[in-house]
Amino acid sequence: MSATQTDTVTLTVDGREITVPKGMSLVVAAAEHAGIEIPIFCYEPRLGPPIGACRMCLVEIEGAPKLQAACTLSCNDGMVVKTAGTSEQAKEAQDAVLEFMLLNHPLDCPVCDKGGECPLQDLTFKYGPGNSRMTLPKRTYEKPLPISPAIVLDRERCILCYRCTRFSSDVAEDGELVARERGAQSVIATFNEQPYTNAFSGNVTELCPVGALLPTAYRFKARPWEIVNVPTVCTGCSTGCNTWSTLRENKVERILSRNNPGVDEGWLCDKGRFARYEPRDERIATPLVRELAGLEPAAWDDALRAAAQRLRHQSAAVGEGAVAIVTGGNLTNEEAAGWAVIAADLNARTASAPIAAAAEWERIDAYLAPLAAIDTADAVVVIGDQEPADRAGTVELRIRKARRDGAHLAIAGPGGSSLEADAKSFIRTHVGAGSAMLAALTAAVIEAGGENVRTDATAAGSVDTLAQLAGADIAQIRELAGTLVGAQRPVLLVTDPVAVSEIEALAWVLGLDRTAGGVVPLPIGANERGERAVGLVGGWDEVLPALEAGDIKAIVFVGADPVMESADSERWQMALAQTEFVLSVAPFTNGVTSQSQLVLPLDVDHERDGTITNLEGRIQRIRPSLAPASGVPLIEWTSRLAGFLSITTQGNPGKAFDQLAATRPAFAGLSWKELGEQAQLHTTRPAAAAPVGVPAPTAPATATEGKLRLIAPRQLMSGAAVSRTASLAHQRAAWVMISHADAEQTGVKRGDELAVRHAAGEHIGEARISRRLLPGTVRINWSGAAGTGTSATVGAK
């Protein structure tokens, strides 16, 4: 028998022969594959194994005494399936189920936002509701019920397919959205009417097959025939989830996922879905020049000419490094390419990421793993203080899925992050111990040895001393090293800002370049990788000392705001006050615009045309649905600015891209026209090289006597758009997490109001108590940058 014969099964559906891979396909999927429609409600493969709850998909199977749910039935060789299309019995059952569903459904399609996009409506039209023999009073509920400021629930429309609760329990694993009561009284609910706060909550509005869960913002906004859906990519973080933006009357009313299985599997986080740069009339829409009275509008050409003159002057007068161009990893590749040309011409310093080490990320590319590698991983190790989602939203969902599929999930950090509860191992460390933890693990792997281990490498110290430095249990580190050595497809994610060489050392000794796993980098900016690839390299932390020393005379911020987004906020402010020329490009007035002589408008997400490169190196097309607030796209005026500097940059994204393809290795072989809507991954791993030297780990943070160590990593739910989106306010509600031991000692109870005073300010929030958080530390969801590892005090408000 040939391999193909053993690996497939052939069945007959409605008289048609279908061949599908063995053991993999469910009857419902096989039928769909063959273009035969079996109606479904509860079936949704992304939610895990099918549950067969709605019974809409009943089919007749030859030889079976009862009808079977096609969604839970595996295909067998020779199986003969008759759907409602050919089986009277199946048709009758389908009718029956539809009738049962409509017993309670209000049939208010004309006023329902789902109208026109609703499978229940379609089926009812197609098959007609079983005549009006429903003399029962329909169940009535209070409606609509907000389950969060972003989502409303209409229990009367709910058909109890349990898609939303399965998302909550089996995908996001937050367990916040549940069914309560039993039988005919079952309803969808949250605990005690608290808002559904999970960062991925919005997905339930797309999963709901009827109009029971709808985004608040979209209610009564548009009918399906009035809208245009534009395929694009989210620029909220470096994952690059694929989206549709629903446009109506020149406004983005809704963001939907556009399933790209390799990237997002059809999930979005609430930042990508709900955050908007609004209101639009507060946007910076023209160039602004600082006059005595403040920033005043100026004509484009005057502003650009002035900018060019000032920059050229400093560069010519002072020389190399007198100008700095600071970006935040958020430009498109094409926009960034223009600024890279300008920077080169001005002999300017560049900085595209908060930390310098980012410039060396290419060395990690030898171990670079695509996002899909997490799915198939047999071990996933997350090291650091931060939650992976705070760096890359939907990556968290992949990590959870890998764990459910049996991967050994290990979390090393100070505790209190949401992945720990179900992790196979949780190794508690000091705050900011990522570096030490990596070194300890590297040493333990060398000690353990094994087929794939490069034991010729040297460790930074003994396992004991390094474990002690990390504050971690040595036995646990050895055990994890053993797991990693035995793993065939391990994936490593580091959320602490550590030096690349420390990750590289572990990847090298583990031989991650040879295995199917690898390192999934977690850049901070959405297009950090792309900006680097076009030549904008360097870190903010390298620019700041030079600025303070007065070496930098003119500085340009393009979509970067270290005053708001860096823990060194005050130092930036002081240094900028002494800098001769500050130019900022921003969507709204912000931390740097107030210290700028010249301010230029920045385009945001749905206004931009071009490409961005996600964390795995996938180059994806983003498309505009709106014109920029200023009317002039950034890439276009950048090119005009270049003109005033007597150089040329491409003002058209397509041309700019093709030029990149011709000149930059990361873009080689690609062309603007062929990018397509679902970008493929083109990265190839360069050969790994032995790391240069063994890095000495940086010591974890310690707190001043009598104070707590602060953990305040940048949150996923932060940034200019999030802070302007009212329906996300509940996601940002401030909390303060302290350890159970500290709470016992101080008598703090869950829900108490606590105030945390730290170097960057005061944070007042609701007390959360964690049994895993390291005593002596406090974790907060501060929306700015507060300097993790520094000291803080906690007290009653």
Binding site: G52, R55, A93, F100, M101, L103, R182, G183
Partner: protein
């Protein structure tokens, strides 16, 4: 108040409970040959034990009557395999597992240990319905005694195998008797059934291969190992071997549990053991195997108790709960009370059961109140058809089947309700007041 509960007189032919009163103490149990079967089984291989069960042809006592030996042979291989004992016993009319636990708990424990040894199980969990608080305590006590004697928690004599047995109490949900719902509940989920496959034999307790049997089934294991499978198969009929506990209730002189050879008939049970109906009453119908089974009529009294005999008569033996209904009983009410139970217990997962049981109940309420129409009697039958066979588990069928049998056998009573616009039965008829437990109805706030 009379002693509660009162047990039936001992029966010399009984295999499970051939004695009067109870033997809760391990010393009493051992003095009567208890744990001998366990010792015997320790000299047997897993295969030999399974073969013995197959030879006995014991059919599961939980309701479906699936051959126990065959089920044991299906258990998937694996390091962690579990044994789960179904003590949820919630089918209306059924109270037999409870009597086994009250009177002879060690027989169950011994059966569990033999089965655990047979599968080299990582542990056994007795899922007992939450309301059986006293029975749960008795089992805990029996486990503690067995632990002291070294049957549990330390290596069994001559082996390095350690049996672990735990009691897991439910919390009030009939559906948790259905095996996959029971496992969901044990796994910490809402007690809702799951689609099969995967079968419990592959993924059950804690998502591991699991052998699941009813209390009575497992309590019979020591009998079978003691007397030999072939000898056990000599009792009863060819297809339904051994003795089985029958729970007799309703309008009968001597209600209670009776252990009967499966070769006996319903007449032997109701008229023989049960002493027939109270004076002056006549038999109207009887429920042959729990309230989910179609009722049988007086002319079917000679039907055998054996699984195959009841099927031939148009119903099912189910859990062996026999409810006797006398001539004064209103069958519309009987149908309504039956349907209400299943509506109350529907887990709410699948559409036809959740909505169908509610619709059936609402229509029956109208019928009982005399507000129904003749067309609605047919509609009721049609809804029963639309529920049956279309649900995720058979709870929906458990509502549809009996109601259909009530209508088909007593249609004239339904029609009379419609015609009169009220229930024709006198005020002192059984069930003259209907008290359906409300669906988790909110209780009024406590004052003060």
């Amino acid at each position: 108040m009379p002693e509660s509960p009162t047990f039936a007189q001992p029966d010399a032919n009984a295999l499970l409970l051939p004695f009067a009163g109870s033997r809760r103490e391990i010393v009493e149990y051992e003095a009567n040959g208890g744990y001998d079967s366990l010792r015997k089984s320790l000299g047997m291989t897993s295969e030999q034990l399974v073969d013995e069960m197959i030879a006995s042809n014991l059919r599961g006592r939980g309701g479906a009557g699936f051959p126990a030996g065959k089920k044991a042979s299906f258990l998937a291989q694996g390091l962690d395999r579990y044994l789960v004992i179904n003590g949820d016993e919630s089918e209306p009319g059924t109270f037999k597992d409870r009597e086994i636990i009250l009177r002879n708990p060690h027989m169950l424990i011994e059966g569990i240990i033999i089965y655990l040894w047979m599968i080299r199980g990582a542990g056994a969990y007795i899922y007992i319905r939450g309301e059986y608080a006293k029975e749960a305590a008795i089992l805990e006590g029996a486990i503690a005694q067995a632990r002291e004697k070294g049957y549990i928690g330390s290596p069994l004599p001559g082996t390095d195998y350690v049996a672990n047995v735990y009691v897991h109490r439910g919390a009030g949900a009939y559906i948790c008797g259905e095996e996959t719902a029971l496992l969901s509940s044990l796994n910490g989920e809402r007690g809702q059934p799951t689609a099969k496959p995967p079968f419990p034999a592959v993924s059950g307790a804690f998502k591991k291969p699991t052998l699941l049997n009813n209390v009575e089934t497992v309590a019979t294991v020591p009998v079978i190992i003691g007397m030999g499978g072939a000898a056990y198969a000599g009792v009863g009929t060819e297809q339904s071997t051994g003795t089985k506990m029958f729970s007799l209730s309703g309008h009968v002189n001597n209600p209670g549990n009776y252990e009967m050879p499966l070769s006996a008939t319903y007449r032997d049970l109701i008229e023989g053991k049960g002493g027939g109906l109270p004076a002056g009453r006549t038999l109207k119908a009887f429920v042959p195997g729990g309230s989910s089974m179609p009722i049988l009529m007086p002319n079917q009294l000679d039907t055998g108790l054996a699984f195959e005999a009841v099927v031939a008569a148009g119903s099912m033996a189910g859990s062996g709960a026999v409810i006797v209904v006398d001539d004064r009983t209103c069958m519309v009410r009987f149908a309504l009370r039956t349907a209400e139970f299943y509506m109350h217990e529907s887990c709410g997962k699948c559409t036809p059961c959740r909505e169908g049981t509610r619709w059936i109940t609402e229509l029956l309420r109208k019928q009982e109140a005399g507000l129904g129409t003749l067309e609605e009697i047919d509609l009721l039958l049609e809804i029963c058809n639309r529920v049956e066979g279309n649900c995720l588990c058979v709870l929906g069928d458990a509502c549809a089947m009996p109601v259909r049998s009530h209508i088909n056998n007593f249609r004239h009573e339904f029609e009379e309700h419609c015609r009169l616009g009220r229930c024709p039965c006198p005020d002192d008829a059984p069930m003259s007041e209907l008290y359906p437990p409300l669906l988790k109805a909110p209780l009024p706030m406590v004052h003060a």
